[in-house]
Symmetry: C2
Subunit: 278 residues, 2 copies
């Protein structure tokens, strides 16, 4: 692991790191914020998965999470959203919603994407192992959140690992990629035409198929341009209601899909996570 | 004035606007955050002047000022750092520290810069008039802050308009441009060889020449790469001490020159301003 940069911020250290990933077969860059702590202490870890077109940098620069993480003593990890590099295939038309910056947190099975697009394994196995080794992280206390495509990632990873994550939340998540245009395109491209294989990467389908967490927190802007076609939080609400999952879904009047929205509610989410990680 | 974008954030509106400036003879872009407020209410205005290479966007995205501005009821205005456009001359070698992104908050007198580089008039006269007209701003309650080159701007403008600004503060300011490389290059290029003319654009010289404000707040990172050659806060401390200005100079161990530093202490500065604006 190579240190790209570190800077002191809010009484902690904001770092950016790069390593060779065996999961993706590429170099991967990620950011980690570590609050100051007592020697030998290990802190709980909050995972933040980003949305379409993002790298680790978007939330690192615009997410406004450091003050709350320092206050609550939380390590904050932000991975990239796809493999990158000359050998990595992209959307044939260069579209923003597939390929580079759009890994959708799955292990692709379809050529030519199956070689590098293994973001599920990267985010759930390889990067956690590295974080546990290289940072003062208590891997027995983890939680996960994400935005949009990364909200999809947080919900699906959280639902499939309820023993690992003490809290799961999302900002404007794609809750049912198997039933909306962004997700149908991505899951077809990465996993193929058989929709039965998509269900393990669809939060609503996972809940319908029996996956359970005790509670979820979701914030959604009412002025979000993607709300009606791509996000559909009402489907998550219906699935949680049927399954007895305690979903707090906060519709936020006037807010859009941007980091202006995310940063506004970031401290609320971190306080909610912190209460469940102690 | 044209609205480039608006977004809801932290219970207010973050906007970006563009207008034709008569001071600079170019289009100018700036950002304004307006917290929600009672109908007809007018809120105090905090000016934020940015540093070398920046536009309005850097602090707008990375400054983490909106939570505190909403809490204290402060309008936050972030102008650009120079005129821009095809007709605007730049540094002959394209250097980052002169020309585009480096207006140094002066009205240039030297050709070819005297035609467009009129940032002093723009920031002290034209833009305040526009803000007072187009936003719910109480122009009887203003304060000013800035970073690096913008800290220089905030200090010099604040010292020359003590009646207008209730509070003046800075992050890692250039306190004596007439005596450091960045400033010597810029003031020579914009104002010419006569160093006597530079003194009205040099905070330490202004204080030596009799300018007074009751107090100043300055934060400075001790790991700032520009500290020893370009910033020299000890010169400001000496001038304030001799002049009886109550300077609070906080040296921050480990902090660099970046927005990680600025964002960490932004809320402190805004609370300090708010207390003096009420």
């Amino acid at each position: 692991m190579e240190t790209v940069s570190t800077a002191r911020a809010f009484g902690g250290t904001q770092g950016v790191y790069r390593h060779r990933s065996s999961a993706t077969g590429t170099n991967m860059t990620f950011s980690v914020f570590v609050p100051d702590h007592a020697p030998g202490a290990r802190l709980p870890v909050v995972w933040y998965l980003s949305g379409l077109t993002c790298t680790h940098a978007n939330v690192t620069e615009k997410g406004e999470y450091r003050r709350a993480c320092a206050e609550h003593g939380l390590i904050f990890v932000a991975p990239d959203t796809s493999p990158r590099g000359e050998s990595v295939p992209d959307d044939p038309a260069g579209a923003y919603d597939f390929g580079l910056g759009a890994g959708f947190y799955v292990d692709a099975t379809e050529a030519p994407f199956d070689r590098h697009y293994r973001m599920w394994s990267y985010v759930t196995e390889e990067l956690p192992a590295l974080i546990g080794e290289a940072f003062p992280a208590d891997m027995g206390r983890q939680s996960i959140m994400g935005h949009s495509m990364g909200g999809h990632g947080a919900l699906t990873i959280g639902l499939r690992h309820p023993e690992r994550f003490s809290a799961v939340s999302a900002f404007a998540p794609i809750v049912a990629p198997g039933r909306v245009p962004w997700g149908e395109k991505a899951l077809t491209g990465y996993l193929g035409q058989d929709r039965a294989k998509w269900r393990r990467h669809d939060a609503v389908a996972l809940i319908e198929d029996g996956a359970r967490v005790p509670e979820l927190l979701v914030d959604q802007g009412e002025a979000d341009n993607f709300l009606r076609e791509q996000l559909r939080p009402e489907w998550l609400a219906a699935a949680c209601s049927a399954a007895g999952i305690d979903l707090t879904l906060r519709m936020q009047p006037g807010y859009d899909h941007s980091y202006y929205f995310i940063s506004t509610f970031m401290a609320d989410h971190l306080a909610w996570h912190a209460a469940r990680l102690q």
